[in-house]
């Protein structure tokens, strides 16, 4: 496949610790990844423990692309809490072609390093990344 071969930095011990951090230790609520400025590797840009979904959304740059993992928790209609790890490829229409191209062609590399992702979301605007539409997706996948 035509891939950029931009890979997560070796010292970024993503797997299996990522799922470990998010799911078991609940150390982070979300992690945002970016491609380093020299276009060579994928690095962690930000981690956060904030419970607010809005904080996550506002951490996504409006005119640049990012990868992100969010620990999505929600209540089922019949009660009971569910938890899903969501992987986001954030690529807004307003971003330049170059980052769009870089992120799209590198997605496979980071995705392979991440374990335990339940939902993958390819999003181009705030509507697609909104709590409501992600919840919808999550509900569809959980029985």
């Amino acid at each position: 496949m035509a891939s950029s071969h931009i890979t997560p930095t070796p010292d970024l011990h993503l797997t299996p610790t990522l799922s470990h951090h998010l799911k078991l230790k609940k150390a982070y609520k979300f992690i945002i990844f970016k491609i380093s400025d020299d276009s060579k590797e994928i690095v962690i840009e930000k981690t956060s423990e904030s419970k607010s979904y809005d904080d996550f959304v506002s951490a996504l740059p409006p005119t640049d692309c990012r990868f992100a993992v969010y620990d999505f928790t929600y209540e089922m209609p019949d009660g009971g809490e569910r938890q899903k790890l969501c992987f986001y490829s954030w690529s807004p229409d307003t971003a330049k072609v170059k980052p769009k191209m870089l992120y799209a062609s590198s997605k496979d590399a980071i995705r392979k390093r991440l374990d335990g992702i339940n939902i993958e979301i390819q999003c181009t605007d705030l509507d697609e990344v909104s709590h409501k539409s992600v919840l919808e997706k999550a509900m569809r996948t959980s029985r």
Binding site: M1, S4, S39, S91, K100, M101, Y103, A104, S105, Q122
Partner: protein, 498 residues
């Protein structure tokens, strides 16, 4: 030369489309060269006089073209005769080597007696390798002016390109151009990436054909590809037919016009024809297509909702003047021919013949002898359409069928990420109409149509994608190096690039 991350890449990117070829340096934002993917060719008269074993250019020189040659000066006529005689005795393989090719905007659009024009690709794949080589020669040596032995080259290809053709291309790149590295990339993937998506349904409508290609995580899903030869050229043909039948007007391309007078709108043009011998049918047809292209770009539009004369006529008029002075003010008609992309059944029967027409008719209503060949050409395309007995489908159905061929779980992702590209989608209103039509076919899913950048960008989205990818320092591990080619042969391309 662009340098990235300290690694000097210096790669070249070539995107050979059905109408236009784009060539340039990786890392730049637009292709350096942009020229037609058609070549002009004729018998090289220099070598002809020296060696007398010259032959006719094609295996099928038509009677008409010989007649036209007869109109030329005497010496040329004699040459043609010798060619004909030689043809029966010589084997056909030697013929192509002595053709003289003309490439590029100025090469092809300039009138030369006896020059034929042909497209290098058929159905998105290389058809004539000699001509293709000339296109590459022209792009690399005349336009980019570089030595290909110093630059890795990335070439885009149609998603349905065959394994044999890719191997042949690999061989050409390493053996003839001796490039140090080579990579071939599917243009649908580059378009999807260039729009920021690794999963998308790429709907591409070009001059020759339209296609819908599902891309998942950067891979083309081969079984989901749907395509048909309904594209911009069909619209052009319809426009030529309309002018002929309803306006009683035949387009005269600019190069033939010596002098013209102003005439009132809708009146037959008054002009003097240049006295030119040796105009070939293919050249005239090519030039007429260029005129129609201008017509399409100037006046044609697509309605947001299915064609309706009243709505269309309320959108205002636009006028267009043809090179010979004939001018028209067009109202609702501007919206009619492009409608074929959305409602082909308005124009074509199920066997792809035109509604309300038969082939005999088309041949007899000729009045201008010169344009005979043109007529025959139209006829041929009609016959081809007839041979291909599948009904034309609309562009939205094309997209829908491609989605339906994919796994159920994938469909919502694809429909949510439809990318529209190709020169034929640049009609104002095309995107809006497509966004209205596709959801009607798939009501259960949310449909979202994306178009790459501005309309100018849309002409070379795939090239731009290739440019960014090939400029990455990290991409160097993907190139097929000449060493690897020496070790493994041409088959490496099918292992490395998929």
């Amino acid at each position: 030369m662009p340098t990235y991350n300290g690694d000097e890449v210096n790669a070249l990117v070539l995107d050979v489309g059905s109408m236009w070829t784009r060539a340039g340096f990786a890392g730049e934002e637009s292709p350096y060269a942009y020229f037609p993917t058609s070549v002009g060719y004729m018998i090289d008269s220099d070598s002809e006089s020296s060696k007398n074993n010259k032959k006719a250019p094609e295996q099928n020189p038509t009677i008409e073209s010989n007649n036209e040659n007869a109109e030329k000066n005497d010496s040329m006529d004699v040459d043609t005769e010798t060619n004909k005689n030689e043809k029966s005795t010589n084997d056909s393989e030697k013929s192509d080597t002595r053709l003289k090719y003309y490439v590029g905007n100025s090469g092809i659009s300039l009138f030369r007696p006896g020059m034929e024009v042909k497209n290098v690709l058929a159905d998105g794949m290389v058809d004539d390798w000699d001509a293709y080589e000339k296109i590459l020669d022209y792009a690399l040596y005349n336009q980019l002016r570089i030595n290909p032995e110093e630059h890795p080259i990335m070439v885009s290809e149609a998603s349905w390109n065959s394994a044999e053709k890719r191997e042949k291309l690999t061989e050409l790149m390493f053996e003839k151009f001796k490039c140090p590295g080579f990579y071939v990339c599917k243009s649908a993937v580059l378009t999807a990436f260039g729009t920021g998506k690794s999963t998308a349904l790429v709907v591409d409508s070009g001059a020759d054909f339209s296609s819908a290609v599902p891309v998942y995580d950067g891979y083309v899903l081969q079984k989901g590809i749907v395509r048909q030869n309904l594209g911009g050229n069909v619209i052009s043909d319809l426009i030529v037919d309309y002018l002929k039948e309803e306006q009683n007007y035949q387009i005269t391309p600019l190069f033939e016009i010596k002098r013209k007078e102003r005439v009132e709108v809708g009146k037959q043009p008054i002009f003097d024809r240049r006295d030119l011998g040796g105009i070939t049918d293919s050249f005239r047809n090519y030039m007429i297509r260029q005129t129609v292209l201008e017509y399409k770009e100037s006046v044609c539009q697509v309605l947001e909702y299915p064609y309706d004369e009243n709505t269309a006529s309320s959108r205002g008029n636009k006028s267009f003047e043809f090179p010979d002075g004939f001018s028209l003010v067009l109202g609702s008609r501007r919206f009619y021919e492009p409608e074929v992309m959305f409602q082909p059944n308005l124009f074509f029967n199920k066997d792809r013949t035109r509604i309300g027409k038969n082939l005999e008719n088309m041949n007899t209503d000729k009045n201008d002898e010169n344009i005979n060949g043109n007529q025959n050409m139209n006829n041929n395309t009609n016959l081809e359409r007839k041979k291909d007995a599948h009904e034309y489908m609309s562009i939205q159905e094309l997209a829908y069928r491609a989605v339906s061929k994919c796994d159920v779980d994938l469909r919502p992702h694809l429909l949510h990420n439809v990318v529209l590209t190709g020169g034929n989608t640049l009609f104002p209103g095309f995107t809006e109409r497509f966004s209205n039509e596709l959801p009607k076919l798939c009501q259960s899913s949310r449909v979202r149509i994306h178009t790459p950048g501005s309309t100018i960008d849309r002409r070379y989205t795939a090239w731009l994608g290739g440019s960014i990818l090939a400029s990455l320092g990290t991409f160097h591990q993907m190139w097929i190096s000449s060493e690897e080619y020496q070790e493994q042969g041409t088959s490496i391309v099918n292992k490395r690039c998929f």
